[in-house]
Amino acid sequence: MKWVLCGITFALSVALAVGTASYRAGNTRLRMQIEREYRSIEARRIEVRRLSLAAAEQATPERLCDRLRDVLRASVATAPKEPAPWQ
């Protein structure tokens, strides 16, 4: 009987060791995932800042006016000509 108890104890300690190791491995895997997420969020935060500044730069009255001029020029170029009186 005592040998059986020894065996069970040993098996339990091995199971505990394996469980702890797997728990720690899961923890590490999650930490790695969080780190990846963190870096990805950082990259997006930087992108948002860049885009907001770029948008502000592009939306100055002068640039919007230039864009409008380009659009108007393009529409004038593609507009059909007025028919002549004899047509």
Binding site: R45, I46, E47, R50, E57, T60, P61, E62, D66
Partner: protein, 679 residues
């Protein structure tokens, strides 16, 4: 249990007992016999402790503090630090490619190509092919230098002495998400390359074209030890507002993370954030700055329309009279290839002011020199060049632009008579002239928070101790009376007029407030002791109002006529003084040449000035170049725009865009903006 079974059990448990015994023995070997540390192949001894184990897989990431932000008086950004990554690659050549030099070369070329591909993953790039080619060439060169590829034989195994692991800089200022993701993908897929994305900042200037000289720039300058060894690079500002000390980045932050044997990262926390950047509020009004740049450029280009030569340089400044705030300061150069190498003309280009000093002289002479404003001066001249040998200054010959008769002080200013001005100047003694230069600050620094000011100065000969009073009056005093023998920059002239119009010594202000660590410190408006009575100021101001009128002989009459044609009535609204000076200056590569300075100082409204503008254009030929015709129109348009903008803001409306397309402040591909090199 049989004997055999007992034996087998003992055997199994005995075998299991060997494991802890082995571990105990191993620990004893390492901890006792190795005496507490372990010698690594590279010779470094590693302490055998739990701390050493932790340190080995702990890494610290530096989070640098951002440089401060520069804003205009209404909060528009003029310069700011944007978050970005500095990407470094730790490259280890794989063993199999080290066996043959040709393979090593090919592998490194392929790596440079992959990195270049990742760097141009940004879909918004204007010319991706050109950008890719530039990145590839740069990266290939860096890898060649790092791995000493030039020293490799054409074929055969690489020598053992050659490095097999090196770190190179891939790029700085990487902030585009698609590029970051491409680099991370490359990092995951390539075992021999480990990319380090270090936090960094990229300096951006949203309205770069119109603020170059004023805001300045930062440069990476080498940092060397006393022995001259290169220690690294540091960011330094050598021009413009960027040199303000408060803009220096605050303390950086730190973030720890863990790595495994393959350098994969593990999260431990967000760490300490860096100090938030300071904010410098400039007095500049971005909308007026754009107008000033556009008008100055337009005028400089218009000069050449009449087959005349374009000016060498131009400067225009706009000042708020109440506070002394510099609202706009524009600079224009004919020959500069890049604004970085060109002087910021309102602050760094000196010129002889000519007739625009006459109101300053008259105010000083009325207050301190006993000038009776009602006194008449005979300004009659003779000859085709309207000259007169002025007896009050020992017979020095002075010329006028046109014939003037008997004039009062008011008339002298309106007609801009040199003869009359010299006669008024003769009322001042040498000490009075010293006081004049001192009150108006013509020899004093502007004390603006920008480096490399070219301070105005006077010709020293007249102030030598051996020069007697009559000789001083004849030569120096009479030259000062008509704006010669001393040089000023446009901002100095603006300060002198500000002093005259305010009646007390004034200083210009370029910073409104500085916010550091959440504490906002306002810069005070500086007012010195009273120098001129309100009567003096009113008399001079009234004369300057009549300069911009239809009166016969008024130097501003052509300006009035030109604006009236466009539907703008300037009489009663604008006051000012025109100036035209002929002098000599040294130009690099050309030696001493004759130049003409056309200048104008104006303020608006004429009766109670709120805005003051100074415009100067210098042309390097001897053709006539009048301040009233060339320098006055852009200054008048700038003053009108300032008034218009003030009214629009009062009504809660935004700035109005000119219907005429120009180039200043309108570039879609301005360098150093957040959109640099992008569509």
């Amino acid at each position: 249990m049989t004997r055999g079974e007992r034996f087998r059990l003992r055997l199994v448990f005995g075998a299991l007992a060997v494991v802890p015994l082995f571990l105990c023995g191993w620990f004893a070997w390492i901890q006792v016999l190795q005496n507490g540390d372990l010698k690594r192949p590279d010779g470094i001894r590693v302490a055998l402790s739990a701390d050493a184990a932790t340190v080995q897989h702990r890494r610290t990431e530096r989070l640098p503090g951002a440089r401060g932000t520069i804003r205009d008086r209404h909060g528009a950004i003029l310069a700011m630090d944007c978050d970005a990554f500095e990407v470094r690659a730790e490259v280890s050549t794989p063993k199999k490619v080290r066996r043959d030099c040709a393979d090593t070369r090919a592998w490194l070329r392929s790596l440079a190509r992959s990195l270049a591909d990742a760097l141009v993953r940004d879909q918004g790039l204007a010319d991706r092919a050109a950008a890719r080619s530039a990145h590839f060439e740069r990266l290939e060169e860096r890898l060649t230098v790092a791995f000493c590829i030039d020293q490799l034989p054409a074929t055969g195994a690489a020598p053992e002495s050659l490095p097999w692991r090196r770190e190179i800089l891939v790029d700085r200022g990487v902030s585009v998400l698609s590029v970051i993701e491409a680099l991370e993908e490359l990092d995951r897929d390539t075992d021999s390359v480990l990319l380090h994305m270090q936090h960094d900042h990229a300096r951006v200037y949203p309205e770069r074209q119109v603020t170059y000289g004023l805001v300045g720039y930062v440069e990476d300058q080498p940092l060397r030890s006393e022995a001259g060894k290169l220690l690294g690079f540091e960011v330094r500002a050598t021009a413009g507002l960027e040199a303000v000390q408060a803009l220096l980045p605050g303390a950086g932050g730190e973030r720890e993370f863990l790595v495994d044997a393959k350098s994969k990262r593990f999260y431990t926390g967000i760490g300490n954030a860096p100090e938030s950047p300071s904010t410098v509020e400039a007095t500049i009004d971005l909308e007026l700055q754009k107008t000033a740049s556009r008008e100055l450029e337009r005028q400089a280009m218009a000069v050449s329309e009449n087959a005349a030569r374009r000016p060498l340089w131009g400067a225009m400044v706009l000042i708020e009279v109440e506070t002394g705030d510099v609202l706009a300061a524009a600079s224009w150069h004919r020959d500069s290839k890049h604004p970085k190498g060109a002087a910021f003309t309102p602050y760094q280009s000196l010129y002889e002011p000519g007739s625009i000093v006459k109101p300053l002289l008259f105010a000083y002479a009325h207050q301190h020199g006993g000038l009776d404003w009602e006194r008449s001066f005979d300004c009659s001249s003779s000859g085709a060049d309207h000259h007169l040998s002025v007896p009050e200054v020992g017979g020095r010959v002075v010329r006028d632009d046109h014939a003037c008769g008997v004039l009062s002080s008011h008339g002298i200013l309106v007609n801009s008579s040199n003869i009359g001005a010299v006669k008024v100047g003769s009322l001042l003694t040498r000490d009075d002239w010293a006081g004049y230069l001192d009150v108006y600050g013509l020899r004093r620094s502007l004390c603006l928070p920008m480096p490399n000011e070219r301070q105005g100065h006077v010709a020293s000969k007249g102030w030598l101790p051996g020069i007697k009073e009559p000789a001083f009056k004849k030569w120096t005093g009479s030259s000062y009376s008509i704006g010669y023998e001393h040089q000023v920059n446009a901002l100095q002239m603006a300060r002198a007029y500000l002093t005259m119009l305010s009646g007390c010594r004034r200083e210009l202000r370029l910073l409104r407030a500085v916010t550091v660590a959440g504490t906002r410190v306002e810069q005070p408006v500086q007012r010195g002791p009273q120098e001129f009575s309100s009567d003096t100021v009113t008399l001079v101001r009234s004369a300057l109002g009549d300069v911009i009128s239809d009166d016969e002989g008024a130097t501003g009459r052509h300006l009035v006529a030109a604006f009236r044609k466009d539907g703008t009535e300037l009489v009663g609204l604008l006051a000012g003084k025109t100036g035209t000076a002929k002098s000599r200056t040294v130009i690099k590569g050309k030696g001493t040449v004759e130049v003409r300075n056309a200048s104008f100082v104006g303020f608006m409204p004429a009766a109670a000035p709120r805005y003051l503008a100074v415009c100067v254009l210098q042309r390097d030929d001897s053709a006539r170049f009048y301040g009233g015709s060339y320098a006055a129109p852009p200054a008048a348009r700038l003053l009108l725009e300032a008034m218009r903008l003030e009214e629009r803001r009062r009504l809660g409306q935004g700035p109005q865009v000119s219907a005429t397309p120009g180039s200043s402040g309108r570039g879609l591909l301005a360098a150093e903006t957040a959109q640099a090199g992008r569509r």
